[in-house]
């Protein structure tokens, strides 16, 4: 029998953000070498928000191009190079090959292709996949289970550096002119296009490297949840956010290696022409699509599951009501993770045999079951709840609305007959933006507002937050709901120009994107203002009951001064006065 080492109880330590009198350079060095999951989470937050900005600018550029039916950018040189770094070109006067160092306006179609590839690749690989797990997950997963850190802190820091390296590869590829393959890198086009340039290869390598970061984060979280729960935190005592992160991590561990080998083979293909995915060397392009979607469909649930976890927290805390159907929501997270591996074929309906298409179509409908279980439970949670309409709650309600549209429009896409009409149209674009953005991004922003006081110890301006939410919500719907009409009328995706009759929809969509952009900029301004001049946050501004609200805002370096003693569940709002709160602020319901 041994005593637990009590020397690790830190009574006198300050917040993890304290610089403790360090100068600028030692602070930077301290952050660059930190193994504190909270600091790593914040570094991830800034990295993914930077990428969100880059991807968002590319998205706005796509919408700007689509304002007019004809090409709006000048048709310039046709080399397909935006900025030349000494690439060989033919001198128009002498006919000799020379090195070109000029900046040339590019053919508009090429620029458009590069823009939507940039938008897709950055948003998927560098923003949405790591957004919630790596930032909010890293910060709150250990705290919410009462741990001092994740299981492998050094690995955690390593995965951040891998993420940055991967993103740098992507940015270098972008500076060299960017890829024009679409974020899916479909062969054989991705093997043939710009074959003598590094930029597509760099973008593929970026996605490959980012996969490692994703794997290491997922692995870390699985072990943390298994091994580091505080005494008294059983599996069914965990907040639902943790369940969602756990399911996410399982998908990350099991699916990501397949994209690793796929992209590795694609890099071999581009560099050495080994022919496995290249039909003109005897390879099989459909095999590439199977490989790619074996990862990239499950990864859709890597994107949405953390969002669902956040929503479970927001609805319960800001509705002050015990979550309805705790186990149903927890198990439906695992159910979604399981089903996610069975449905990838619906991305290849037009490339597969009828048998395979039918099997995958039938399996795809299974996804609706666990998803609907979650939505019904959330609605039931809201029933007779004391709803506080602040920014996080508004985002949670917005999520329910947008995600339901996104989910339900998935059904016609899973139906073989209707999919033949709708596939590769704007209907698909609108569908996955409703799920990815209306789902994940909305939940992420909501969660960011919810936990912002805890992360930085500052309150944000509620009024500005609500106005910005209204802009985002309206802008989002204007931008993407019109695209359902475009899609059903036959507008194919990934085209820079279109017939005149579509113009009114495209214009409405583009105007909506500006409102959306404005809303996000307002949020950004609000956050910056909060960091610089926001009022100091109390330890538990929302009256939450999960463990992160037990500690102060921002938390101390080891999260808790003592190993937390569990006295109540995360959703016992009916019976427990929240920690650090008075019963006046958060009155308990009258017992009957």
């Amino acid at each position: 029998m041994t005593a637990i080492d009590t020397s690790h109880d830190h009574h006198d330590e300050g917040s993890f953000l304290d610089r403790k009198g360090m100068g600028l350079w030692s602070t930077i060095w301290d952050w660059a070498t930190t193994v504190d999951h909270k600091k790593i989470g914040i570094m991830y937050l800034f990295a993914v928000l930077t990428m969100f900005f880059i991807g968002g600018v590319a998205g706005l550029a796509i919408r700007a191009e689509l304002l007019e039916p004809m090409r709006t950018s000048a048709d310039g040189a046709t080399t397909g190079v935006m900025i030349n770094f000494g690439s060989p070109v033919q001198d128009p006067d002498t006919g000799e090959m020379i090195r070109d160092y000029t900046v040339t306006p590019n053919a508009a179609g090429n620029t458009f292709n590069r823009m939507f590839t940039l938008h897709g690749a950055v948003m998927v690989f560098m923003f949405i996949v790591p957004a919630v797990p790596a930032s909010l997950g890293n910060f709150f997963l250990p705290i919410m289970i009462g741990a001092k850190d994740v299981a492998f802190p050094k690995l955690n820091l390593f995965s951040w550096y891998i993420y940055v390296t991967g993103s740098l590869f992507g940015v270098i590829g972008l500076i060299l002119g960017g890829a024009d393959t679409g974020w899916t890198f479909y062969t054989p086009y991705s093997i043939q296009t710009d074959a003598d340039f590094w930029r597509v290869t760099l973008m593929v390598m970026a996605a490959f490297i980012l996969g490692f970061s994703s794997i290491l984060t997922g692995l870390n979280f699985v072990v943390t949840v298994h091994k580091l729960r505080a005494p008294g935190v059983g599996w069914f005592d965990m907040p639902l956010f943790i369940w969602a992160m756990y399911a996410t991590s399982i998908i990350q561990v099991l699916a990501t290696p397949v994209i690793g080998i796929t992209l590795l083979l694609l890099v071999f293909e581009r560099l050495f022409r080994i022919g496995i995915f290249d039909p003109s060397l005897g390879g099989d392009a459909v095999l590439y699509q199977h490989f790619f979607w074996f990862y990239s469909h499950p990864v859709v649930y890597v994107m949405i599951l953390p969002g669902m976890g956040i929503i479970s927290e927001l609805l319960a805390v800001h509705g002050r009501k015990h979550i309805f159907g705790y186990r149903a929501i927890a198990f439906s997270s695992l159910g979604i993770a399981a089903v996610s591996f069975l449905v990838w074929g619906h991305h290849l309906f037009t490339a597969m045999s009828p048998l395979a298409s039918m099997v995958f179509s039938a399996l795809t409908f299974l996804v609706a079951i666990p998803t609907a279980i979650k939505v019904f439970n959330w609605i039931a949670t809201l029933y007779k709840a004391s709803i506080a309409l602040n920014t996080p709650m508004l985002y949670a309600l917005g999520f329910l609305f947008l995600f339901s549209i996104g989910g339900l429009t998935g059904l016609p896409l899973a139906t073989l007959a209707t999919d033949l009409h709708l596939h590769d149209s704007y209907f698909v674009v609108a569908h996955f933006h409703y799920v990815m953005m209306g789902g994940t991004v909305i939940a992420f922003i909501g969660g960011l507002h919810h936990w912002w006081p805890k992360m930085f110890g500052r309150m944000y301006n509620e009024r500005v937050g609500i106005i910005a939410f209204a802009l985002v919500f309206i802008g989002f719907n204007v931008t993407f709901f019109t695209q359902f009409f475009l899609g059903t009328q036959g507008m194919p995706r990934r085209y820079a120009s279109y017939v005149d009759e579509f113009q009114i929809y495209h214009q409405i969509s583009t105007y909506g994107s500006w409102v959306l952009g404005l809303g996000f900029m307002l949020h950004l301004g609000n956050f910056i203002h909060s960091l610089l001049a926001g009022p100091k946050a109390p330890p538990n501004p929302w009256g939450g009951l999960s463990l992160e609200w037990e500690t102060e805002s921002p938390p101390c370096a080891h999260n808790f001064h003592h190993e937390p003693l569990i006295k109540h569940g995360p959703y016992d709002f009916e019976t427990v006065v929240p920690p650090h709160c008075s019963e006046q602020d958060f009155p308990l319901p009258k017992q009957h």
């Binding site: 794997i215 298994h226 091994k227 290696p257 690793g260 005897g282």
Partner: protein, 227 residues
Amino acid sequence: MSTINAHHTPGAKPMRWETYKHEHHWRTAADEFDAAKLGMWLFLTTEVLLFGGIFCAYAIFRMMYPEAFTNGSSYLDWRIGLINTIVLLISSFTVAMSVRCAQLNQQFWLKANLIITLICAALFVVIKLTFEYIPKLSQGKAPGTWFSYPYAHHPEEPIWWGIYYAGTGIHALHVFIGAGLLIWVLVRSFKGIYGPKNYTMVETSGLYWHLVDLVWIFLFPLLYLIH
């Protein structure tokens, strides 16, 4: 269950494994060890699925073009494959033994077993290069656009070579990574870091090395024996 006895000479400086302390966010060293092993197993699943891509490509192409794969397999000498299999199996055994030696504080045999493993790894790579890669590549039995072997019978044979080089190449890369890990363990074991109280790295690196062996156990019959 063996009983572990560390040999304490009174007054002597303790070896580094005896003063090992687990990292502060763990409650016990046992938790830390379990977690490290759990993490390694999760990592191994990712490695298995990574090779799963190669196996999947092999299966699909084999089902589509069995003749090309029959021909391809007949270009390989099963005797070389057999020798390499034996080499890897022995190395796997010595790694398992090195874990045992660390657990029992047999410092000499810990190092000896690791060194034998590393020799096996080197032998594997050398055999692979001298008897397989170099002669085959010089005959033009190469993947994709490099293919220049004039006596091929089936037009899909370059794909066979693509699968062969991708599979064995990525496996060889893992041999290098695994050997790198074991070298690191060896260097640290000379400093007396590993012993009954701390053998986590020996065990996890060993697990990684066994995975290299596992993949080869499947690659060997798939490439050399199925005709």
